[in-house]
Symmetry: C2
Subunit: 121 residues, 2 copies
DNA sequence: TCTATTACCTTGTAGCTCTAGGTATATGGC
DNA sequence: GCCATATACCTAGAGCTACAAGGTAATAGA
């Protein structure tokens, strides 16, 4: 019996520090009023002034993830023969939004500090 | 001979829209003066006011990538018996910095517009 | 009839970041 | 001399996000 070299543990990693912006945007939009997926796709482009454009392939998986972890609740409605899935924030989602917003402000401040440092060199 | 279903092409993807912030920070720091890897690790923490902390496992691969694509040039120096690899910006690196800075400002503006929209709802 | 639009969805990949290690030298305390 | 700490470099492999590229189905308009 050869002593097995213990496989590197590789516990779960923290999410990349810059990630979660799509999530932040969706939570923020849904904090104002309930919306459905396809609507959110257009809305993100709109409110960010075309600066950010997230495809359906990004939006839908994020929505499903947020629903699964209890940040969103979904409600199906049929409008004009088409099914829409409306999402709205839960209490947990509201907390998550606040936390992501803080994270965003923190890293934003950090990056800008680094960029600004050039001016007063 | 079965007609092979053509494998999904999966051309190269655009980099995730929020990525490249570590790269931006490193280029920005190196635009001011040449530095070596270990120094950059400390420096990033410092200039971002502890908001962002990139480990060596992040810094070194990024530096190598930037050198490989011609954005940085490296120069080895021995100081006090230890080898340091000093990096400095090339012309290409300068252009890359400017582009990443623009990208950053664009998405920053976009996100903040979305966040701000809540106030004047 | 054919195309565009709305509205949902998933699969598989690319690429980035992180963790967790590794090597080697110098320094200061005991 | 010995050991822990700091300096300084590095990599492999996993985790995860965001992406492109598809697919289904219904409606609306040309």
């Amino acid at each position: 019996m050869v002593k097995q070299k213990p496989l590197r543990r590789m516990g779960q990693t923290n999410p990349p520090f810059m990630s979660g912006v799509p999530e932040l945007l969706l939570l923020q939009l849904l904090a104002q009023r309930e919306m459905y997926g396809y609507e959110l796709v257009k809305s993100v482009k709109l409110v960010t002034g075309e600066a950010i454009s997230l495809g359906e392939g990004v939006i839908y998986p994020v929505l499903h993830g947020l629903e699964r972890n209890g940040s969103l609740k979904a409600k199906r409605k049929v409008v004009g023969g088409r099914t829409r899935v409306y999402y709205s924030l839960t209490a947990k989602g509201k907390r998550r939004l606040e936390r992501l917003e803080q994270d965003w402000n923190r890293i934003q401040t950090g990056v800008n500090a680094a960029l600004g440092a050039a001016s007063h060199a």
